[in-house]
């Protein structure tokens, strides 16, 4: 059962990746005109026929569509994702470089959001109906309703411009030109982007944790614990929290796509040199190879998050075998 499930899961992921690749392939075929002629004409206003032919031959555009598709698929799996038009280097190289910077803000923001969301959500659900709970709930609904790009702009204006506490954008100070990159300086630049992503993500975690706590609070073992005479804090920590936290693992999966979207806006607004701002730049300059690379990398990130969540679940909840709960 376990092995079958993992294989099924991997096959689904493989299919998802292939579909992403296929969509890109079809999009490329649907684009009007032929790529090299248009490209050369924009630079030289003239496309020499022999150059076009040589290009089409090198990139196998003169072969049957099916063969082109298979080649394209193979290239995608071998990490041969073409060259970025704006950076003039392989797409994977650019993406790898930028991914690191995205992780610098994404990992702390997500970790903090999960911790805070679980803590506040558990408390809120445990004290259901109380003034604190209602205030927290409405506050979270409020924050969640603010679009991430607007939140980022407001945080930038308040903390960066009016209070002047943090830099307005970028990732290092100009002093980095002479003295190299100082981790403290980077951290100072990262505070506002991390804060925005944190606020963006914590509301989802909170909501799920609170709902999960509402369900758990009605379970028989909580009543039993209370009948034993345990004090409220012990019941909350030892019995309720542990069980209510389980659905949070799936949350990571759901959150991943949302965080990718959120980081596009946040990085663009704070000029943070990560994958999100790269997406914006690629859009601005119509860098097709780079855009398709980003779509593939995003797909891969979601797949990895999915599989990880699936495999972690049975480790933290021994009642669940791989493949049945999630």
């Amino acid at each position: 059962m376990k092995g079958v499930y993992i294989i099924k899961r991997l096959l689904t992921s493989l299919a998802a990746f292939c579909i992403s690749v296929t969509i890109m392939f079809i999009l490329l075929r649907l684009m009007p005109g032929d790529y090299i002629t248009m490209y050369l004409e924009t630079i030289y206003r003239y496309a020499p026929p022999d150059v076009v032919e040589a290009f089409n031959h090198v990139y196998s555009f003169d072969r049957p569509v099916l063969e082109q598709y298979l080649l394209y698929l193979m290239d995608a799996f071998q990490g041969n994702w073409g060259y970025s038009l704006i950076y003039k280097v392989p797409v994977l190289t650019v993406i790898g470089e930028k991914l690191v910077w995205t992780m610098v803000i994404l990992v702390p923001a997500t970790a903090l959001a999960i911790l805070a969301g679980i803590g506040i959500g558990a408390y809120s659900g445990w004290k259901r109906g109380s003034k604190v709970d209602i205030a927290l709930m409405n506050g979270m609904i409020f924050v969640r309703a603010i679009p991430s790009y607007w939140l980022a702009l407001m945080i930038l204006i308040i903390f960066g411009y009016y209070l002047n506490l943090f830099p307005l954008g970028g990732y290092v100070d100009t002093s980095a030109l002479t003295s190299g990159i100082d981790p403290l300086d980077v951290a100072k630049h990262a505070v506002l982007p991390i804060l925005t992503l944190f606020l963006f993500s914590v509301t989802g975690t909170y909501y799920l944790m609170r709902n999960s706590m509402l369900m758990t609070a009605g379970e028989d073992y909580i009543i039993t614990a209370r009948a034993k005479g345990l004090d409220e804090m012990t019941i909350l920590r030892k019995h309720a929290m542990k069980n209510a936290m389980l659905p949070m693992v799936t949350m990571v999966t759901l959150d991943c796509a949302g965080m990718i979207t959120g980081s596009i806006f946040v990085e663009t607004i704070f000029s943070w040199p990560g994958l999100g701002m790269l997406t914006y730049k690629a859009l601005l300059f119509r860098d097709l190879p780079l855009l398709q690379g980003i779509l593939l990398i995003d797909t891969l990130l979601i797949i990895v998050a999915n599989i990880t969540a699936d495999l972690i679940y049975p480790l933290i909840d021994p009642r669940v075998q791989v493949g049945d709960g999630v």
């Binding site: 689904t12 992921s13 299919a15 998802a16 579909i19 992403s20 969509i23 890109m24 999009l27 684009m31 259901r128 109906g129 609904i141 409020f142 969640r144 309703a145 603010i146 679009p147 991430s148 790009y149 607007w150 702009l153 407001m154 930038l156 204006i157 411009y161 709902n211 509402l214 369900m215 609070a217 009605g218 796509a257 990718i260 979207t261 596009i264 806006f265 663009t268 607004i269 997406t279 914006y280 859009l283 601005l284 119509r286 097709l288 855009l291 398709q292 980003i294 779509l295 995003d298 797909t299 979601i302 797949i303 999915n306």
Partner: protein, 275 residues
């Protein structure tokens, strides 16, 4: 339902209806043509221009009013498509079960792994579609979650006594699905519609914010983008930057509150435990 909840519900419904009215009556309410040059550029709010003018000397108040149309259109059209598709496929999948269900679920498993927003970005960049096409695309790409939600509800309905009874009377499948199952999942579909509309509005404005919008359509995303790209923050031109952002936040908040209030009503377990 407590009194404060009723007030919140009434307020959010009021806001949504007001936005709808503004969208419909835009040509009558707006003092200027949203594209017209109406005076000096970047002038602060005064009697002639309630919210001042932008860098092209267009009246910001008029643009704000016209922008309601694009926002509501994307949100509601997208959500309608997503919910109709999600409910239809979800009912069929959950009711028949077996091979059909398995096939649909596997397709959804795969589809859910593809990041929708980046895909939408690529599609819109290279095809420059109009606002209707964007709404339809969002509806199609966003329907997968709805299928899962509705299906899980239908699974238990399909084996309920009243369904088995109706089947024993010789009713056709299409009749059972239409007359007995559909009404039971409608409340859930309604909540999904409200949340989807909120989500799609934010995405639609987000596309405009990233500079991928139809330039001939006035939308709040492009307004925010233009203001923030042209130094509204540094120059302190709040009337240029703040109004479109507040407008989005308000409608988003109203829809969110409406959604949570409805969810409360239809999910008895949450309600019983809540107060």
């Amino acid at each position: 339902m407590t009194v404060s909840r009723k007030i919140i519900l009434a307020a959010s419904l009021g806001i949504i209806l007001t936005y709808c009215a503004v969208a419909i009556l835009a040509p009558m309410i707006a003092p200027y043509d949203p594209h017209a040059i109406t005076g000096a550029p970047l002038s602060p709010p005064d009697r002639e221009h309630p919210l001042g003018t932008n860098d092209l000397a267009q009246d910001i108040f008029s643009r704000l009013i016209w922008g309601t149309r694009a926002t509501l259109l994307i949100g509601f059209l997208g959500a309608a498509i997503a919910v109709v598709l999600g409910t239809g496929i979800g009912i069929v999948s959950g009711y028949y079960g077996g091979m059909i269900d398995e096939a649909i679920m596997r397709i959804i498993d795969v589809a859910m792994t593809i990041p929708i927003f980046p895909l939408l970005l690529i599609l819109t960049t290279f095809f420059r579609p109009g606002i209707y096409v964007i709404a339809v695309l969002m509806g199609l790409l966003g329907s997968f979650q709805g299928v899962r939600l509705i299906r899980s509800q239908v699974l238990s309905l399909a084996v309920a006594d009243f369904v088995t009874g109706t089947k024993a009377l010789g009713a056709r499948d299409s009749y059972i699905m239409g007359r007995h199952i559909l009404p039971n999942v409608l409340p859930l579909a309604g909540v999904k519609f409200v949340f989807s509309a909120q989500h799609f509005m934010l995405i639609g404005i987000g596309l405009g914010f990233l500079g991928i919008g139809d330039p001939s359509v006035v939308d709040w995303g492009q307004m925010i983008n233009r203001a923030s790209q042209n130094g509204a923050i540094i120059l302190g031109l709040w009337w240029w930057l703040i109004p479109p952002g507040l407008a989005v936040t308000l409608i988003s908040l109203a829809l969110a509150w409406l959604g949570y209030a409805c969810e409360d009503e239809i999910n008895p377990r949450l309600r019983l435990l809540r107060v």
